[in-house]
């Protein structure tokens, strides 16, 4: 963990931003898998971690916004707990490590929270168990809890967590570096006849060996055109592409989120390489466009135009690229957004509301198909860390629907597209820090040019 003054500074700033009221940041409890006694691996709430909360279930913190006084709530284990789970750090020690002013038992929390009345500030709640706990502590109904979070607190938390400090960048770099090694291992090992699950097993094993977990569900599939595809049941066959989108969490729970796409064979086919180079151009030129003051929405549109232009060269799109992108025609191939903030969450702070995090008051979210999925649109600032992840996909169901509707027929060459129905999908993704003057790609370089990727592929 970071130093006590770091956490004290974060809590003080939060208190100052709110000015008055009682801030409650609630930690998670164990999440039941198939019964209470068989929980999923514990994942602490990210904001709780950020403000110095220990990585343990069943705790909470309050900060008096007027005075800045912080209280850590928790209970030490009994001897009986200890022989099930082993000796543990005491709540007092945990509080000292993160510079809290006071420790109280969880049994005191309801009273303290009720005393705050309508001066209570808490963040949006994304687990049903926590809705019930907050309802019990406050005496409010679950519906009131789910609608009663504090907008002021959201803004104050987003303001701090959006700007990563040097020590956070070091942690994120660790995550990206392990993630990169996982991708290299997968690219080296993949070959025809293996199953997707054999590659996924490398990824989980490499995380487990470092005592960390994947930051999100592993995507590792020959069917890259299915964007959130967590199925790993296919056997890899010659001629196919494999799309791997996975990342490790660091020990402090910062996420890495990297995508690479590579051929099952040693080399890309010409057809695959043509499309791959378009995605790679879009990715690298989008990254080059990242710097403070630039709206990420504009970077997204730039990538979309590079994709439209590249697909025009290949013969799959036609007409003016600016007009095609303005109309949304590229979204048949690139239906998602260019990227999102990343930090303690892979979609950083998504629990606080994507518009608060990625749009703010600067930009209005579009309702155009494709652009509507853009998670980050606002102007970039030094300290932002975000993903840049353009892709080109051939999604049969979407192609069929659009062609039947003759949608954007001025911009799309549906006849030529027939030969790409079974192509799959390509995405390339890096994690990028916005610096004072430009950008920095986090971590050691992970092979991504055609030559670099092919150099990793097995030799028959």
């Amino acid at each position: 963990m970071f130093s006590a003054p770091t956490y004290q500074g974060r809590r003080s700033r939060l208190a100052a931003d709110l000015g008055k009221g009682l801030i409650l940041i609630n930690g998670n409890i164990d999440a039941s898998m198939n019964y209470r006694g068989n929980p999923y691996p514990f994942r602490q709430d990210s904001s709780f971690l950020y403000f110095g909360g220990p990585d343990k279930p069943g705790m909470a913190m309050t900060i008096d916004a007027a005075t800045g006084r912080s209280v850590l709530y928790g209970d030490d284990l009994t001897l009986e707990d200890i022989f099930w789970v082993g000796p543990q750090t005491t709540v007092q020690q945990l509080a000292r490590q993160a510079g809290f002013d006071e420790v109280r038992s969880m049994s005191k929390l309801a009273g303290d929270v009720k005393s705050a009345g309508d001066q209570l500030h808490y963040l949006p709640v994304y687990r049903g168990d926590n809705v019930l706990r907050l309802a019990a502590w406050t005496g409010r109904t679950p519906d009131q809890i789910q609608s009663g979070h504090s907008e002021a607190l959201i803004h104050a938390v987003v303001a701090q967590r959006s700007i990563k400090t040097t020590e956070e960048i070091a942690e994120m770099t660790w995550a990206v570096d392990l993630t990169g090694r996982m991708h290299v291992a997968v690219m080296r090992e993949a070959e025809a006849g293996l199953r997707e699950s054999d590659l996924a097993s490398l990824v989980t094993g490499m995380c487990e060996a470092e005592e960390v977990v994947p930051a999100y569900g592993i995507i590792l599939s020959k069917d890259g055109q299915t964007l959130h595809n967590h199925h790993h049941g296919n056997e890899l066959q010659s001629g196919q592409l494999v799309l791997g989108d996975f990342g490790a969490e660091s020990p402090m729970h910062y996420a890495g989120d990297i995508t690479r796409t590579f051929p099952v064979d040693r080399h890309f086919t010409n057809k695959q390489r043509e499309v791959y180079e378009v995605v790679l151009d879009a990715e690298m030129l989008a990254i080059e466009a990242c710097r403070p003051g630039v709206a990420y929405r504009d970077v997204h549109l730039r990538a979309a135009r590079i994709i439209a232009n590249g697909l025009k060269d290949i013969g799959l799109m036609k007409g003016d690229c600016h007009e095609a992108v303005a109309a949304g025609a590229h979204a048949l191939f690139f239906p998602h957004g260019l990227g999102h903030m990343i930090g303690l969450d892979v979609h950083d702070m998504e629990d606080l509301g994507e518009n608060h995090v990625g749009y703010g008051s600067e930009v209005q979210r579009s309702d155009q198909f494709g652009l509507a999925y853009l998670r980050l649109a606002r102007k970039l600032q030094p300290g932002f860390v975000l993903t840049v992840e353009p892709g080109i996909y051939f999604i049969p169901e979407l192609i069929d629907q659009w062609r039947a509707e003759k949608k954007h027929a001025d911009f799309i060459n549906y006849t030529a597209l027939e030969k790409y129905r079974n192509f799959g999908g390509i995405r390339i993704e890096d994690n990028v820090l916005i610096t004072d003057k430009g950008y920095q790609i986090l971590g050691d370089p992970i092979p991504k040019t055609v030559a670099e990727v092919e150099a990793l592929r097995y030799i028959v």
Copy 2:
């Protein structure tokens, strides 16, 4: 999955057992990790699976107990969902596979459930999200939901799920066989200088490669004396024991739950072997005692006496073994129960209440330290599958407390015990089916004698 008639038969029997009212068996939804969009791997509710519910989030079933008519509730994906997650089996197809009489949209469920009024039967709810969903459907408060489950439905479900069919045994055998291969791999690979996490990584990787998950949090530790220890951060050192307690879930989500303990070195030390042989005797003789009509409480006590007797031979206990066990003195070394039912849950049906599953009306749960933790006490029946898992542990905190209190000083040789403070713990566990006349250990034999275990250990 099993055949439609299998699921129809289960639902019909459930309806007949209840006689009247509306039975609601609710499926799980995705469980949030750090925000709604980043869920844990989906785990369906076990009773929902058992009665034919699909292995997909956001569904439910009802059974009219008077007529036996069954309805599967669910909604097909939109095109927009499909390009995120790929084409999916329709709800109609899923319903047909499991022989449901009707399909309805989830939007109809609240109305149907409200119509049932106080004639609604549902099982205990172990996820907050489901408490909130049931509250919304029924118009009841969360507290009412949490206390309002149906005892009659619990009894009817426990009656069916307790007796495993031949096709269930085949599925469980698959889980145990994979689990056995995982244990053998760990025993072969372990050596001084490796970390516990390197071994855990083998386990998760082998599950992932088969597209299944561990059935519960992996215990793989040099600190076997900590019973539920999921930390894997230690480096293995010569002279230590390693306790591995882990199991795979089968594709249909039946659990394997096996424990083996082995030395980091090629051979057990004499001291380790002495204790190991006591645990092994207890395990094998307890298994031999398993047959229909025998109360598992008595098997537990038999294992406890073998442990007490063995520890007396070693010089750590003294006095009469029957008296020692009756007094609970053995529980310093063997503080947990001998085993539990296993099936779709590793502690089968623990969500329905351990006493309903393991005690029923036959046996009263003891409040004696040690025996109080026994999860299964009732008379065994053909078709039960259970774990047999005795252990001997040297838990420093517990030893210190008991010695300070001179607890059971007539039966425990506290002076001799000093030399075992850092011994760790040993547990050996198999999964056992009760047959018409006796028992059958599930799966291919997994090495467990000293000679078998040592034969697997690496050669320097």
